[in-house]
């Protein structure tokens, strides 16, 4: 009996101290039936990659309000790749100017959302990202 659920890590890297938005997203993902690993504030890229590894997540959602997204993203993606988790889609939400979305995607970020994005949009994006990953790496594969 296979009962696969989406495991998603919601993390808040950087030094700013607001996790209201991250909590709202975590709850919306939970309400969509996912197992949401919530790690709280001030996560270093190393902590995020370590949690992603131990929790074997399907998707990572980052909330970044500090404006440091272009600096944080490459480091996190690099650590994921080093751990053999380069296939885990990373989505970023927060204060992301439209102009920064193309460079983020060029780095390998699956999707980026600016302020005012609805939780429905984020939930749908996480579901789509998980589905794509599962298609490439079906359940049961060693």
């Amino acid at each position: 009996m296979d009962q696969r659920k989406i495991r998603v890590l919601v993390a808040k890297p950087g030094l700013d101290g607001h996790d209201r938005g991250a909590k709202v997203i975590a709850r919306a993902l939970r309400d969509a039936g996912m197992d949401v690993i919530y790690t709280g504030l001030r996560q270093t890229p190393e902590m995020i990659a370590e949690a992603a590894l131990q929790e074997d997540v399907d998707v990572i959602g980052l909330s970044i309000l500090s404006g440091a997204h272009l600096a944080l993203a490459p480091r996190i993606l690099e650590l994921l790749r080093a751990n053999g988790q380069g296939d885990v889609p990373v989505l970023i939400g927060g204060i992301i100017p439209d102009d920064d979305v193309p460079p983020l995607k060029a780095l390998g970020i699956a999707d980026a959302f600016g302020p005012g994005t609805s939780t429905e949009t984020v939930v749908a994006a996480v579901q789509a990202a998980a589905r794509r990953k599962w298609q490439a790496d079906p359940p049961g594969a060693g």
């Binding site: 296979d2 039936g33 949401v36 949690a51 590894l53 049961g140």
Partner: protein
Amino acid sequence: MTTPSPSAAAFDPAPILAGDRRAVARLLTQVENGSPLAEAALAALFPHTGRAHLIGVTGAPGTGKSSLVNELAKTYRRQNRTVAVVAVDPTSPFTGGAILGDRIRMRDLAGDAGVFIRSMASRGALGGLARATADVVKVLDAAGFDKLIIETVGAGQSEVDIAQTAHTTLVVEAPGLGDEVQGIKAGILEIADVLVLNKADQPGAEGAQRALRASQEIGRAAGPHPTAGRAAWLPPILPTVAVQGQGVAELAEAIDRHRAYLRETGLDRERERARLTAELEGRLREALLAHLLARLDSGQFRQTVDKLMRRAVDPAGAVAQLLDAARPA
């Protein structure tokens, strides 16, 4: 059958036995999902289990379990023992999803290769948590962790299941208002090998400790002690302040004393036997039911339920009929 399941040959246990973290993490997902690969893996790993010390930590939400686990794990790391943590949080019965937030309190453990933390949702299925947890624990045990800490919210059946899985069960309480204890519940004291009164820095801690001692004495007077006839184990009541690490060294010591007690009295073997008996019975029950249902004609089970609805047969009579129908010709 004396051979392991045929698929066991297809699973290579070496990376798990070597403690490869990615392999362990991926297998835990399979185990949680009850995939066929997990079955093969568990068969291959079972001979390598039975070494870790399983410590259950239960208690009401907010009593400080995760904070305590964080401190306990740090203590064990200073003693050069490796630690795996399984932190279980409830699945929402309405949406099927869960927020697993225990890592928030365990950030001190980040970056330590001797620690592995895994969050798990309870998934709500009756008895399902016990099964999934027992299997997750087997993987981490085979991976070689010395101390295996299982945190569960003390609600309903889950803490009793965990007490059955663990060697040493900690029940965590915290002072509420006045002499009240936040989480004290009938029955929960009986499963405690060690009682922790956390948040001892908060008002009412002394009153809460007295209240705990009183309930413990009432419980002891009421029934025969489970360790009757042996040198008895009296669950110590230990005050802690998890957020400051206070009392944690004493707690770690009490946990080790309990393990030594289990070994000296032979209770560890006895409990292991009871645990394996219960697991075998549970799995056998499920397998027999599936086996029987497979032997019935399609729709026969549903038709029997229809008959029950019409009061054309009683439940015991229905069982007899179904057993008869499933008998090989």
